[in-house]
């Protein structure tokens, strides 16, 4: 596939632009934050997103989805990054539907995926246990007892867990990577406690703790560590797509400002030092676009070098979005620092996305290792 959108994807993206601009502008998210909304997103807005098919893009047609693929979902995430609309799209769709697609049993897929596509079910993935992303350091245990598993341990940074109906928990049944397995846990389960936290980006991620939570064999997923690693790769690419949207929006607003704002009697955009920095940001964004579309394509086309592309995309976008959010504030000067302007929202969301599933350094390191050095 060429590194361009096909007609269907172009159409989808342009309808997403219209949707987010009209229904979920940044002011809407600001309002949710200011009123300290307990849900953290607008349920009716998510219903409209579901209506438009966003929740079913990566779900097969025979499971109630549209099977449009990850290039398509990536476009939604990118556009979403421009207005920062809060929704469970990442937790339920990008993460959890992908887990089920790759690791679910036939039974799990056929019952749960349609509910994700229809927005009736919200799922969260509970995998992190530490402050830094680390796929193999899993201390949460799943002990087999007869026909059941007993889960013990705790998880942090579980996106949107405060509104989830079910949680996919990564736990260890034995030593080694093959002992790392996935379990479906109902949020009502005895022994499970959920502590909602407020993150820097004013979204929600929670800590959970599991004390002797009993799970039936049928709630164990079919796939294990290998599938989970693929989920991480796909998630990293999806997050990179959102970071691309943030970077573009912050950049475009900054360029507009450079043209409008006058100092010393001239437009500050006429200062060559700022022009060159703007040009360099432009280049970084163009490069970022290339790696994101390439990596999204790799998911849909099952390329063998997915991990390498995922690390390239996550690492590069982490750097690009950091550069652009910092420069946006600096070039706006004092008002860029005020909460009244929107750059606080962009930089905060960017830093959380950078940390999620591994920061640029984690992925740069992994890229080098994947290349044998």
């Amino acid at each position: 596939m060429a590194l361009v959108l096909n007609e269907e994807q172009v159409l989808l993206k342009s309808s997403a632009v219209d949707f987010f601009n009209s229904k979920a502008p940044l002011e809407a998210f600001r309002k949710l934050r200011d009123e300290n909304n307990p849900v953290g997103f607008d349920r009716s807005l998510y219903a409209e997103m579901v209506e438009l098919g966003f929740a079913g893009l990566i779900i097969p047609e025979n499971r109630g989805g549209f099977d449009f693929g990850y290039v398509a979902l990536g476009q939604i995430l990118e556009v979403n990054g421009r207005t920062l609309a809060a929704s469970p799209l990442i937790s339920s769709v990008l993460l959890s539907a992908t887990v089920l697609n790759l690791a679910g049993t036939e039974e799990q897929k056929s019952t749960l995926l349609p509910l994700i596509a229809s927005g009736e079910l919200l799922l969260s993935l509970a995998h992190e246990e530490n402050t830094l992303h680390n796929p193999t350091r899993v201390n949460c245990t799943a002990t087999k007892e007869g026909e059941h598993y007993k889960l013990n341990g705790s998880k942090v940074f579980v996106l949107d867990v405060h509104v989830a109906n079910k949680i996919i928990v990564v736990a260890r049944t034995s030593e080694g990577n093959e002992g790392i397995r996935l379990f479906l846990v109902d949020v009502q389960s005895p022994g499970l406690s959920i502590h909602r936290t407020q993150m820097l980006d004013n979204r929600n991620a929670g800590n959970i703790s599991l004390e002797h939570v009993i799970i039936s064999e049928s709630d164990k997923l079919a796939g294990g560590f290998d599938e989970l690693c693929r989920v991480y790769d796909i998630a990293a690419i999806g997050l990179a797509a959102e970071m691309l949207g943030i970077a573009q929006e912050a950049f475009e607003r900054t360029i507009s400002y450079l043209k409008e704002r006058k100092q010393f009697g001239v437009s500050i955009g006429s200062f060559q030092a700022l022009q060159h920095r703007a040009a360099k940001m432009f280049i970084e964004i163009e490069l970022s676009k290339s790696v994101v579309i390439k990596a999204l394509t790799a998911i849909d086309e099952n390329w063998v070098n997915l991990s390498e592309l995922a690390s390239l995309a996550k690492s590069k976008l982490g750097q690009t979005v950091k550069l652009v959010t910092n420069e946006a504030i600096q070039m706006h000067g004092g008002i860029g620092m005020t909460d009244d302007m929107d750059f606080g929202f962009f930089i905060k969301r960017a830093r959380v996305l950078q940390q999620t599933m591994g920061d640029y350094n984690y992925h740069l390191d992994r890229y080098a290792s994947l290349n044998g050095y």
Binding site: L132, L200, G333, D339, G344, Y360, Y362, D365
Partner: protein, 395 residues
């Protein structure tokens, strides 16, 4: 003052401090209210703070190097240095902290009439009046000289209209020292005057500014037909720019000091704690590279401060100017904050967790983005170096 006299003064000073500075006033300053800021509504945080202030005031040591006629301590430069050294060595807090002492006072000493000095300086020494600064405006950022807040000469008073932004503690101050435009016809820098305004005057109001890092000490300050007596003008009419420039250089040096990592905690200790060592080196070798680069520059920046001081002492003109310190110091601080956040991971991104002081580091990172803007942007500092030091031509 010969060596012997110095030693005597030092011994006496130390003895006095030891017996007069309450124990709690020797503890490390944790927050803004650990200092007494004075003012009409000034409140003491605790009894010790009050005692300490009053004892120091009685000796004129709230501003020890100002003349006794203003209530200052009348200390010579060398005596003042000895006092500072002894206070630092015992860990004594400053008894009074204010922009009156650090900013307005020096300007008044240099530019005001005797009458003005007699009126304002003693109030500052006694902490009776709390001052704030009114320079920046929403539409005059780096181009400070482009300010629009106007003072029209109405015969026996000025009528002030306009607004100021980035007034630190504007909502807590009693008076504000302001740059206002008094002549719209002439060249930008001409036509600016330096005015002292009582914030209790009718027509003055403030509005707090929320930053991306949360609450801030900054306000916007609005002037709506505010009548200001003619005698509140400092220096000549339309010549306020020279006062402003004098104060800006002053301010820049204060901000540039941020590049010095005063924290006891070295960033690499945070790294070792969160990431750990593997075969003796930091397990994340990418961050290790950045960290080493950062700490190298931090160490060399501190040597540069040291060298600049030594060169100044030796009477040499070192190339290391306040613009260099402002620029590089703030760049280092911003880099340090980003690095610490990257090293610490997701737990520092939780904003409602007492364990991380509710996102203290994340907010500090966000706040640091303003360092390279306030007190003259990084771009302005580079312009100054290019033009004033390197002599590169204007466009």
């Amino acid at each position: 003052m010969n060596k012997e006299e110095q030693d005597i003064f030092r011994a006496e000073t130390r003895a006095w401090l030891e017996s007069n500075c309450p124990r709690s006033m020797r503890e490390k300053v944790q927050e803004e209210s650990d200092y007494y800021w004075g003012g009409k509504n000034g409140t003491f945080k605790n009894e010790d703070q009050k005692i300490w202030f009053e004892r120091m005031l009685a000796k004129g040591w709230t501003v020890p190097y100002w003349h006794k006629k203003y209530g200052g301590g009348g200390l010579s430069a060398i005596e003042n240095k000895i006092l500072n050294e002894e206070m630092a060595s015992l860990g004594c807090r400053k008894p009074l902290f204010s922009f009156g002492i650090s900013m307005l006072g020096p300007a008044l000493q240099k530019f005001a009439t005797e009458e003005q000095k007699d009126k304002y300086l003693p109030e500052i020494v006694k902490g009776e009046i709390r001052w704030c600064q009114g320079y920046s405006e929403p539409n005059a950022g780096s181009d400070l000289a482009g300010l629009q807040c106007r003072a029209d000469d109405m015969g026996d008073y000025f009528l002030v209209n306009g607004s100021k932004i980035w007034t630190s503690y504007g909502n807590k101050a009693d008076w504000i020292f302001c740059l206002v435009r008094t002549d719209f016809g002439s060249k930008k820098q001409r036509g600016i005057s330096f005015l002292l305004i009582d914030m209790a005057t009718e027509g003055v109001s403030t509005r707090p500014i929320k930053l991306i890092s949360g609450k801030s000490p900054f306000t916007e300050t609005f002037f709506n037909n505010v009548r200001v007596p003619k005698e509140n003008l400092v220096g000549e009419l339309n010549m306020g720019w020279s006062i402003a420039k004098y104060l800006l250089t002053h301010e820049r040096q204060m901000i540039g000091d941020m590049g010095k990592n005063d924290e006891q905690v070295k960033t690499h200790n945070i790294a070792i704690e969160h990431i750990g060592l593997q075969n003796g080196i930091l397990a994340d070798t990418i961050l290790r590279t950045e960290l080493a680069q950062h700490e190298m520059n931090e160490a060399i920046f501190e040597m540069t401060i040291e060298r600049a001081i030594d060169e100044a002492k030796a009477g040499n003109n070192s190339g290391a100017t306040s613009s260099l310190f402002k620029y590089y110091g703030t760049e280092l601080n911003m880099e340090r904050m980003e690095l610490q956040l990257a090293l610490s991971g997701n737990q520092e991104l939780v904003m409602d967790n007492p364990a991380n002081q509710n996102g203290l580091l994340a907010n500090a990172m966000l706040r640091s983005k303003g360092n390279s803007i306030e007190g003259g942007t990084s771009e302005i500092q580079l312009n100054i170096i290019a033009k004033n030091i390197l002599g590169l031509p204007n466009n």
